[in-house]
Symmetry: C2
Subunit: 311 residues, 2 copies
């Protein structure tokens, strides 16, 4: 099995390691750390054991794109979903006629930007439940979890999805196949859409601050209820106890700073549209009132404008 991972940051490098362990041919396309990874491979500390590996090929440019007879079975896109980043263009050089496109990315409704541009290819959409971060050039720390939920997009499943899932499972992680990856995205959004932006607006607050400040759990729950309403209007009603279970689950974890909070504190671009803006846009299209989510979105937009104009 031949795989190209486009955007081998912490997430991409980790899932590349899993596929490598399962025996796949793994090429990576990097934006930074190319020389280090070519020299030393990825060094990955993990509770799963030593996941360090050398990718079979390390690309630093589309000029390296393979000829079609060497085309990948899967091109796995692990690039952050950000305005101005054309993910379809990033995966295109690596596509052969039968290559399947795989997204391991956060957010709601993030598939069309790729699928609409590349209609000839099957699209597999995946959600990663993982704690992993880059701690230096070519160095990744895998802290916990790793489960992938995956399905064909927009719905159903496929032989290709099952085969890729089997490979991930052989590499040592839990895989959940789904017939409704959009529903799974809504279920994850129930947590991400409130917690991520709230954390940024609270200056990088962690989960304990976000639940134990007076009024804050009420606010989180109210935001979650708005996400539930949009999901239901989109045809994916979540279970009635979903909010309570998310709150309990969060309380059961140690204080935790989410990915958007970490991006914010490190002054990196944030996946605001993918995690929040797209939910607000769907709400507007479907006529669902989401005053709190809209307020979060507007506040983050104001921050952006203020940062850009620097008045």
């Amino acid at each position: 099995m031949r795989v190209v991972i486009v955007g081998a940051g912490a997430i991409g490098a980790f899932y590349g390691a899993i596929l490598k362990r399962a025996g796949a041919w793994v090429e990576v396309v990097l934006r930074s750390d190319v020389e280090v990874v070519r020299d030393q491979g990825f060094v990955i500390d993990s509770p799963l054991g030593n996941l360090s590996y050398r990718p079979d090929v390390v690309h630093d440019s589309v000029d390296d794109a393979p000829t079609s007879d060497r085309a990948a079975d899967y091109v796995i896109c692990c690039v952050k979903v950000l305005p101005g980043i054309d993910r379809a263009a990033l995966v295109t050089p690596w596509l052969g006629p039968d290559t399947q496109i795989v997204l391991i990315e956060n957010g709601i409704n993030i598939e069309p930007a790729v699928a609409d541009a590349l209609t000839d290819h099957d699209l597999i959409s995946c959600l990663a439940f993982i704690g992993v971060s880059r701690i230096g050039p070519g160095r990744i720390e895998h802290k916990a979890f790793g489960r992938l939920t995956m399905g064909a997009w927009p719905a159903g499943n496929s032989v290709g999805c099952q085969a890729l899932g089997a490979l991930f499972a052989a590499g040592g992680i839990d895989v959940k196949q789904t017939e409704s990856v959009v529903r799974e995205r809504w279920a994850k959004s129930l947590w991400n859409t409130p917690f991520n932006p709230l954390s940024v607006l609270a200056d990088g607050a962690d989960t304990v601050t976000m639940l134990d400040t007076p009024g804050s759990e009420t606010l989180v729950r109210a935001c979650m209820a708005e996400v539930m309403a949009v999901a239901a209007a989109d045809g994916h009603a979540l279970p009635a106890d979903a909010i309570g279970r998310n709150i309990e689950g969060t309380r059961a974890m140690p204080a935790y700073r989410n990915s958007m909070a970490l991006d914010y504190l490190a002054n990196r671009p944030m996946e605001i549209a993918a995690i929040l803006g797209n939910v607000v846009a769907i709400a507007q299209r479907l006529g669902v009132d989401v005053p709190r989510l809209r307020m979060l979105d507007t506040l983050l937009a104001m921050r952006d404008v203020q940062a850009a104009c620097g008045r």
Copy 2:
């Protein structure tokens, strides 16, 4: 006329200058810059002319409190309204039996903390419409405006209020006497309560960012509508066109950063309770739903917790 100004920051120093110009005896109680002000007085640049002056006495401690035969006619409190600052205790040393207490301070329902502790004294409540800031030790820049709105608290007016107003007017500023200072506070709150916290959460955004970011004017108007609803429930219905006039007035000004935004950017304590928290508390007491104001209050509280715990 003998006046003691407690807390002669930019606002206190400015209004002391006005009273000095009108011929009053002006003592000031300072927390910082005592030596500089004793040596050189206040240096105040102002479009009103040269307002620089030497206070008649510069106090740096309550040990300097006058004997009762020298008691002030007015003790004017210009201290910021912050949790943990006991303004009643700060003015008490300067009170004789007939001294009237004057507050020149921002916010809603900020009088009871002083009035309830000092029931034997008349209380005059004032709102300052002014652009003034401290630019160095003993140095104040008066940029624009200066109007005071003043009345007896909780309602009505008084000979003492009229006399003090006449003195301010003689010193060169506009004075508006009111029979309902609480209504005037609500009218000012209509602007302050949304704009100040929104600006902080948008990382110090100015008025142009707060009106011209997509969605932001809608958000400001929605927050203002919540303030209107609380004011009305509190017995002070504001005119139906108040929101529109506030927005237009703000658009007519150049980009402007409000006092809470400046405090935030300078890492100084913010008057969150006075400007926002008290509005939310009154809403709760009167059963008015204010989801956006509550959300602003909770977000600011989360920031505070995060800053304090530093996890």
